[in-house]
Structure formats: C-alpha cells, structure tokens
Symmetry: C2
Subunit: 303 residues, 2 copies
C-alpha cells in the first residue's frame, strides 16, 4: 500500500554544537518520504523552485518515491535557516524564505487520487484539507501541524482535524491545541477533535501514543552522537506511516510497532546532517535497531 | 533483607499550580523509607528537632521502619520551602532552614552495622562515606546526590562514589558530574567513577538505567493529576531499592523490574501532597500499576 504525502521541500542551513551545513536538502515531505520509503512506495506532493537540482529528485526516485505530484515553479525553493544549542530539542529559527512554497497550491495527479494512506505534512491546514478533498476514499489520514497554525489558523485546523485519524505533533503543540498543561488531559481533549489516535513526539524522550482505549510509551534510542535533530519528527512520521501502510493494518498492535519503527528512523536521521544517514542506511540496519529497542525496553512481570 | 537508609527528614512547605501545603512531612529519608517499606524493612538514620511530632514517627513505625537510628536533637527540624510552576519537573527553592540537619553526624546503632543493602540519601558526601564506613560489609550501596555537592564538594563526592554500586541522580546532575552534554557519553564517564549502575531520573519522562553491558529505558506513568512532585525521586529510589533488597538480587532482570517499581512508587507519590498517597496505598495497588506499566510499554517483535 503506497502513501500519499504532502509537505515542504527545502534547502536547510543548520548549525549545531557539532558542526554546520549550508543549503542542504531538507523539508518535511523530503524527510517523511525518504523514511517511509524504507517500508513502502510514496506518492509525493510538493513544490520546488527552478534552483532545485535534479540530483535530489533522482535520490527520491532511487528510494521509490513517485514525484508525479512534485511541481517545479518559477522562483526559488523554500529556505530555512536554524540553529541548535546543546539542548537539541529546541531549534532557533534564524531565517525563513518561503519563496515558491508561499503560493503552494497542491493538486493531485489522477494516479494519486485513490490513495488509502495519506500523510498531511506540516502546511497550512486549509491546504491540508484541500489535498484530502482530492482523494476519493482515504482510509488512514495522518497529520502534522505546528504552533504557527494552532494559534494563527485555529478554525481551519479544527476543521481539518475532523477528517484526521492520526495526529502526530510535539508535546508543546498538544498542550497548546488543547489549552491544557496536563498531557493526559490534553490528549483526551485532542481525541475529541477528530483524531482517534494522538502520537505525542517528545524528542530525545521518545513518544507517547494515546487512543481512546490505551496509552503506549516508547523511549527514544539513546545515541552517543546526535549531530542534527532537523527532520527527526518527519522521519518519525515516515517510519510510523510507512510501516502501517506496508502491513495495511492500524490495530493497536501494529501501531505500537509503527511507533518503534518511527523512533528507529528518527534515531538514524539525527546521526548526520540533512538526509545523510538515510543515504547509507539499509533495511537490515532498521530491523536490527528495532530489536535493540526491544532490548532497551523489555522487563519481566512479577507474580 | 532490610535496607539501611540515611538522609534528611524535614517539614516542607510547597506550592504548586494545584494547591499548597504548609509544614508537612517531607525529607529524602522519609520518602525513601516509606516507599521502600512496601517491599522490605528499613533501618532509618536521620535527625529531627524537638518540634518533630511523635505521630510522624508512629507513621514510620506502622510502615515497618526501624527508627533506632533516628536522633532527636536540640533545636528545630530541617525546613524546606519551594514552589512549582506548570513545568512540574523543576522546583524553585524559596527558603531552606537546615536547623538540626546542619550538625547531622550520623552514627549507626550496633544493630544497623550488618546491613547488606545501603541507601545513601542526598546529604554531604563526606557524611555518606562516614555512614558507609560504619557498615561492616555492605553488599549493595546506592547513592543519591545533587548539583550543590557536585560543584561544591566534588572531591569528597568522587571519593564516596568509589564505594557506590548504584548511583541514582537526575539528568542535569549526570551531565554536571561528567561535564558532558550527551547523556550516553556522560553515563559512560560516570560508570568509570565507581558505580556499576547509573539510574538517570528524568521526572515526567521516566528513567534510564545504564550498566556496562546494557541500557534500559522506562517511561513515567502518564498521570492525569500530578499534585506535588516533591519526593518523587526519593520515592523512586525507595521502590527501586526496596524491591532489590526484597528479592536480594541485583541481576539485570531484577534491576529492570526494580526500575518499574521505582516508577510505580514515584507515580503514586506525586498524586497527593507530602506522603498523603502513601498513607492509603496498598501493595495490591502497587502490583496493579506495575502491570499497567507492562501494558504501557509492550510491543511485539517483527520477523
């Protein structure tokens, strides 16, 4: 089962305590698609400018990503510049140039419209809904968003959320969306907004999944070298949705496994700048780290 | 197997977004002993002032805590005043009055000196070592400390750590002790200072245990009502050490179970001010929450 994914493609300039990278490949759709491609085919919807090199598109093709829905517009590609201090959980945005992304008007090619699995990356919720309306019969709709839309386009976001099955956002966003400091209470409020599943991304602390009937908590993989957290959340979502669509199953059991695969993909992604680690990664390493997650978390019952 | 525990006993005044409590029972040794008492007998070493009411000592006796090592000195009991904002991970100390605790000179009664399990609560590392030297043949020594001693009594602390098997401290303290921002690298450095096991307490994010051969990560229990985080770390340590001594086993398997029991005790403790929740808690509720931790964390392997 392939996944339809919409989001941003960008050039990122990033500085961390461990080094810097200039104008490297980035963007939510790029990270998501690449991570998901380890599990399934991806139909990508995004926009780039005239300056976007063919080699990046070739890389996506090699990873099994369909770019029929990738528009090349007149102008420059979206650029983001940010830095991280030792607290790698928090990026400081230094500069944002939306460029062609400002006029992004996602239109789905005919061959995308029968998608069953859909990922609405972090873009204007009005556009997220517009994408969804072009899909004939979506079965599993996952969505990301951010503080900017939660405060600035709340009504549109709440409308979009009515059609979302799985919302993947970070801790601060959950609290902001629910206007409630306690995470468990906030999660319950979010589950009344439409999504049946809420995945709370907690960066270096892992992830917690809330459904009406269960809670599942997974740690992050303890890493000795975190070089660049950029794209960790999108890689997480890519591994999560990629696995779900590969097994075409959204049971509690499958979603717990998907959380671990999401954590695995995020853990690899942060080991190098940009998508560097994804370029050398293979599925056996992914499965090996999944098993390490089992060793990391398992404990015996007591009588 | 009983545990010898040394630490502070105090009157706490605490304010959180959910209420306040004045001059209530607190102190590291109090929380530790009470939590451990659900699993094992505790031999307590601490000091209180003339103002310390008998009812608190009666409470400890009811919980199976031996107070032969509790000294009542001339003067007032240690007092701590603090507040928490919505970020319940971080306490702001408003006032500290050491009172009789300032001259604490722990001397072990004869019947304490054959202890096998020892918990050195967060006191001056010189005193921690002095306690340890009075034990004939300690088998499992656990220790807590804090930023104040890490910076102010570093040499004494490093000396004490040579005799410690299990160090239980929070994340910031690990980084400070190792002078290393990356947790995994910091843990490795701490494991070279003496302890064979490092338990990193992460508050609402759970705990991570490092040994030379393994890493174990456990989430915190997702709670809808956290009233007062005071004593959570000591309750954690009490559950952890209490379980280990009750099974008299420090294998990797037992220590993982002990981490969960520690998390269980911490999760109950924060549900009410002071030791309120511990007063009504019973062991069947403890075991029930242990099973909920299994449901919270379990996931299936993949082929």
């Amino acid at each position: 089962m392939s996944i339809l994914a919409v989001g941003s493609m960008a050039f990122d300039s990033v500085e961390t305590p461990f080094g810097k990278a200039d104008e490297v490949l980035g963007g939510s759709a790029t990270y998501f698609s690449t991570a998901a491609s380890f599990f399934t085919a991806v139909d990508l919807v995004a926009v780039v400018g005239e300056d976007f090199p063919q080699e990046h598109i070739d890389f996506l093709h090699q990873r099994g990503v369909n770019t029929d829905g990738l528009t090349r517009s007149t102008g420059e590609t979206f650029r983001w510049k940010g830095s991280y201090s030792y607290d790698l959980n928090e990026a400081t945005t230094l500069d944002t140039q939306l460029n062609v992304f400002a006029a992004f008007d996602p239109r789905l090619p005919e061959n995308y419209r029968n998608a069953k699995y859909v990922f609405l990356g972090n873009i204007d919720p009005t556009l997220q809904l517009k994408v969804l309306q072009q899909v004939v019969r979506p079965q599993v709709v996952a969505c990301d968003t951010m503080n900017f839309w939660i405060s600035g386009k709340r009504e549109a976001l709440l409308e979009t959320l009515k059609y979302v099955d799985i919302l993947l956002i970070n801790e601060a966003e959950v609290r902001q969306l629910a206007n409630e400091p306690n995470m468990v209470k906030a999660a319950r409020k979010v589950l009344e907004m439409g999504p049946k599943t809420l995945v709370v991304k907690q960066g270096e602390y892992g992830a917690v999944m809330f459904t009406p009937g269960a809670v599942f908590a997974a740690p992050a993989y303890p890493l000795e070298a975190v070089f660049d957290p950029t794209g960790a959340g999108d890689s997480f979502a890519g591994g999560f949705m990629g696995y779900l669509s590969s097994v075409d199953n959204v049971s509690d059991e499958a979603m717990r496994q998907a959380i671990i695969f999401g954590s695995v993909m995020a853990s690899f992604n942060v080991e190098e700048f940009s998508l560097g680690r994804m370029r050398t990664l293979d599925i056996s390493q992914v499965r090996d780290r999944y098993r390490k997650f089992q060793l990391l978390t398992e404990f015996k019952g007591v009588d």
